[in-house]
């Protein structure tokens, strides 16, 4: 690759959106070209500043309250429409243009806890895992370098997790991404074991000390195994098509910080 080719790819490259082969070629070019290296650094520092400095505007409590009131009132008038559309394009119509005008009946409906309908954890993680693998959105930061993965995750979450590449034990770290579980952002570490992809969801677990010795719960959902372990003040939930015994051993090892080779 020459400079012209590399320059147009630098922006998607720093976003991790370039496939491995071209990414490798870009890396090779950067080694030998100081000008492109400087362009790349400049882009990276801009991105870092954007991530550090752009304010994320949270909905003010009053806005949140008003949204609740409006939608609860409207819920008494509208039945949710079940439509099998695969795309979302029909939101574009002014379908609800009159909805705000509906007289607001404040219905005191209590007991709408968000946890009430919470999906079973195992079903949730298998859903996230299959969507990520099928949707080709497995990895947001591709690296086996924990010094790259850990800060990437820390910058996006309000907690920090231990990150280790277990390639020596046969489980190379491939990368990471951010997912949502129970409505909260969660760190997802992606490992490989032979041809199996293993997603490991890691989130704070205040009761980890009490549970660290307990046997991980193992579940199977739609053919995927889900194993849970607790350690390092975190809950570790692993899912994969890898067999259950090995997955259990792996996630327990992760939680304890000592992964052993299965063979």
């Amino acid at each position: 690759m020459n400079c012209d080719e590399v320059v147009v790819l630098l922006s998607p490259e720093i976003d991790g959106e370039i496939d491995g082969l071209r990414s490798h070629a870009i890396g090779k070019h950067l080694l030998s070209c100081a000008a492109c290296r400087s362009r790349c650094h400049s882009l990276q520092s801009l991105r870092q500043r954007l991530r550090d400095e752009l304010p994320r505007h949270a909905a003010p409590p009053a806005t949140r309250d008003r949204v609740r009131h409006t939608t609860e009132a409207a819920a008494t008038h509208l039945r949710p429409t079940e439509r099998p559309a695969a795309r979302w394009s029909w939101f574009s119509g002014g379908a609800l243009s009159g909805a705000l005008g509906i007289s607001l009946l404040w219905v005191a409906s209590t007991g709408m806890l968000p946890t009430q309908n919470r999906q079973d954890l195992a079903t949730q993680v298998v859903g996230v895992h299959t969507r990520a693998t099928l949707g080709n959105h497995l990895i947001e930061v591709a690296s086996s370098d924990r010094h790259k993965v850990k800060p990437w995750l820390s910058a996006r979450l309000d907690y920090a997790i231990p990150v280790t590449d277990w390639a020596d034990a046969g489980y190379p770290l491939v990368g990471a991404r951010i997912d949502r579980l129970d409505g909260n952002s969660v760190a997802t570490l992606v490992y490989r074991y032979r041809d199996h992809v293993i997603d490991v969801f890691v989130r704070p677990d205040p009761e980890s000390e009490a549970k660290s010795d307990s046997i991980p719960a193992l579940r199977t959902v739609r053919g995927f195994n889900v194993a849970v372990a607790h350690g390092a003040e975190m809950q570790w939930v692993a899912t994969s098509d890898l067999n259950g015994t090995e997955l259990e051993a792996f996630v327990t090892g992760l939680a304890r910080g000592t992964v052993k080779s299965p063979s």
């Binding site: 959106e17 801009l46 500043r49 409505g183």
Partner: protein
Amino acid sequence: MPEHADFERLVMVHLDAGYNLARWLARDSQDAEDVVQDACLRAMKYMGSLKGQDGRAWFLTIVRRAFYDWLAHNRPAQALRSEGADIDALIDEADGPEQMLQHKTERLALADAVAALPLSFREAIVLREIEGLSYKEIARVADVPIGTVMSRLARARRLLQASTMLRTLSGAEPGVQQ
């Protein structure tokens, strides 16, 4: 009412993300609230279509659509010239070191520069850098091909780098010279 319990679980958890997008696009908190209100009503109506999809990207799609409808209704002139216009203002405003001093912090200046980007670039930057969406997700939310997302982000970053304001503020760091 089960429908509303679903609404809490599927939509209200993403209210901050939706409000943030609306706030960055509308650049005003009152307008952002109007947009989010409308978006929530739409989301409630079409919640049945959200089967196993990522709720956040789904809701952001609705918020974005609600914003453009709001824009066409309330600011028809701006809706027409939303592409490419504001960046001139950004560069004009940043023409001297005296004006640099008026900015209290770098943080403010960078946020201002983003706020001055043309709409389509601004939404790409906000979805990518604040929400952390992938190109594929942004393409879905903004209803454009992935290649367009790629070029919008690249151009947005070039504009941010090229603005005198940022070059000066980031000290010795040169922008991209081409």
